[in-house]
Symmetry: C2
């Protein structure tokens, strides 16, 4: 459920951020549900508590979770504004990737098929 690769060039705190973000977006962690504590996760993944804290602080800033002193961290209903920002971000990324594919002469039909297939098969529900 919570996995990090300490040998990856992606920082641990970013991996942690992405893990939890996905769990919330996919509905595996529901609104107001409590997350494991910072020390618990740090111990589980054998990383420093400050590294987990860094991920949590970022998640809080981006509106995914909220923290209560002495109690813990909890999932939040995603802020609409921030969600729209994310959608714009993923659209931009998609455009770039399509242009990259075009640069390599991948035909548009291949990309369309890939899109349909990936959307059908993949992900949640």
């Amino acid at each position: 459920m919570f996995q990090v690769d300490i040998r990856s060039r992606i920082p641990i705190y970013e991996q942690m951020y992405e893990n939890i973000r996905r769990l919330i977006l996919e509905g595996h962690i529901k609104e107001d549900e409590q997350l494991p504590s910072i020390r618990e996760l740090a111990s589980l993944l054998t990383v420093n508590p400050n590294t987990i804290l860094k991920a949590f602080k970022q998640l809080e800033q981006d509106g995914y979770i909220y923290a209560l002193q002495g109690r813990g961290n909890f999932a939040k209903k995603l802020d609409v504004v921030y969600r729209n920002q994310e959608i714009e971000g993923v659209k931009k990324k998609l455009k770039e990737t399509i242009l990259e594919a075009k640069l390599l002469n991948v035909p548009i039909e291949t990309l369309m098929d890939l899109l349909k297939d990936a959307y059908k098969r993949g992900g949640n529900q």
Copy 2:
């Protein structure tokens, strides 16, 4: 034609790599055409020659250019095997981005439209 942003979190040598890679893929630098010299680029962009060298070495390793001692660096016809690797890479990236969009509940029709539009408008030719 050659631009780098020294304040970006993307390393300069990677930006340089990407710049030249695109120029070759887009046909702006043709087969066996000579690239600017390492010292010339370093001076132009006010970065260290070793940083340019690092980009060039990577480009050579990936089959985009070849170097001749004392003469310079030249564009190469892209290696078929490596090109196929790149296509696989961009397909994978596309899948991931599509799943990311699905996670944010972007409807498939929106993605299809975006794909068609980006492919038509964007990039070369």
